[in-house]
């Protein structure tokens, strides 16, 4: 599964990997928010954020092609939604598709391109974050930022038991396939309900057993952990540098938006 690859990459030990997860989380949030709020024109606005995120990916030593290929995940959605735009948003006609009586407008085309670029850049930034930060370190950052404890704890158990339940799900599907070369729709539905239902029952039983195991080791409602985060000088330096880089994004936006 994909998240195993993510985990492997995140377990690396480069300088970016070692950065404080709070610093990385804040940086990426700011970047994504900045990019999402940039105006649509001119497209050259996106050059600077693209340089930022691509160089961050390079410095992190991540497999470049793999990361880029993942960012293409935005394509199908954007294509499905934004395919109307070039034909419907005017007023400046660019060209007419011969034989179809369809006019492609400049504004619409620019908008759909901008949407595509924004989506891809945000994705790259998120990839940079999760490919260099083990999930439990991200949770430490969330804890530090006062995300409600129920959510952090739920996320922690979710991630811990994701593989286990996914494996179970795969084994059930295999067992069905081994006996099901064909089958009617009604039959398949009944078995699907059974598979999901049993998966759920097993998940509930698992939760009970985990809870018992926690109680047995003195759990009293509070989850105590060893790890604590410490800002180092290099984290501060990175934060300042990234901040300076990012401030340029909305300024560029303002400049372009104000037509200066």
């Amino acid at each position: 599964m994909h998240h195993r690859t993510v985990e492997q990459l995140a377990a690396g030990a480069g300088p970016i990997h070692r950065l404080d997860p709070r610093v990385k989380l804040v940086t990426v949030l700011a970047f994504v928010v900045g990019v999402s709020t940039l105006p649509v024109v001119p497209l050259t606005l996106f050059l600077w954020p693209a340089v930022l995120v691509l160089s961050a990916l390079l410095v992190a030593g991540l497999p470049f092609l793999f990361v880029l290929s993942r960012s293409l995940l935005v394509l199908p959605f954007v294509l499905m939604v934004a395919m109307f735009l070039p034909f419907t948003r005017g007023p400046t006609p660019l060209w007419v598709l011969p034989g179809l009586e369809l006019t492609v407008y400049q504004e619409g085309l620019q908008l759909s391109l901008a949407i595509l670029i924004k989506g891809a850049l945000a994705l790259l930034a998120v990839e940079w974050l999760v490919f260099t930060t083990p999930f439990h370190r991200l949770l430490l950052a969330m804890r530090a930022f006062r995300v409600p404890r129920v959510i952090v704890v739920t996320l922690s158990f979710l991630f811990r038991y994701l593989d286990l339940l996914a494996d179970q799900s795969q084994r059930v599907r295999r067992a069905r396939m081994a006996r099901a070369p064909g089958g009617t729709v009604r039959w398949r539905l009944r078995s699907t309900g059974g598979m999901i239902g049993r998966l759920l029952l097993r998940a509930l039983d698992r939760a009970d057993r985990v809870h018992q195991a926690m109680l047995a080791r003195g759990f009293d409602g509070e989850i105590r952990i060893l790890s604590c985060l410490q800002m180092r000088r290099v984290d501060v330096v990175f934060l300042v540098g990234a901040g300076a880089g990012l401030v340029a994004v909305p300024i560029l936006g303002l400049v372009a938006g104000g037509g200066l």
């Binding site: 499905m80 994705l123 990839e127 599907r173 539905l189 998966l199 759920l200 509930l204 939760a207």
Partner: protein
Amino acid sequence: MHLPDGILSAPVWIGAGAVTAGALALCVRRASRQLDEQRAPLMGVLGAFVFAAQMINFPVPGGTSGHLMGAVLLAVLLGPAAASVVLFCVFLVQSLLFQDGGITALGANFINMGLVGSFGGWAVYRLLAGGGGQARRSLAAFVAAWAAVEVGALLAALQLWASGSAPLMPVLWTMGTVHAFIGIGEGLITVATLRFLSAARPSLLESVP
């Protein structure tokens, strides 16, 4: 249908984010009360279950293959507040680890696929099922699950339109039609799963908060 970053305009995603933050704050408070900390692992393991269940595909009439979104199912089991918290965590993990759905769009996605399903779907289910028998409960679950998917999709379409990312009628029509079919799959799977559960462990469905 997880909206990515960049497709929603700032007013829309900020608005949706605010709604999400408010709703989530209420849900968190309610869920922490309902399932006190003593049952910490339950919600996380159920979140993992949603992923595992989504790996089980079911061919939908109309050619696509559907998988469970599970909002109505979770709401029937846990109550809408706790279900919402679990679903929020699921969407967060999907957007972070699977790059499925954007960070700024998290609020909108949570409203469309989480809140609508867990609160709306749950209300529809409760209303239609009443104290009825198996057949009536099944029908109620089907309608609730179908409606949750359809309404969520229409909301997404409206958000896209409000963001200026799509013209109103085509996007309503496309999303509406596609999800009318996906909703059938969701409805059928939800019903089949609930029927199995009521046979295998009836106590589960009686203790709904």
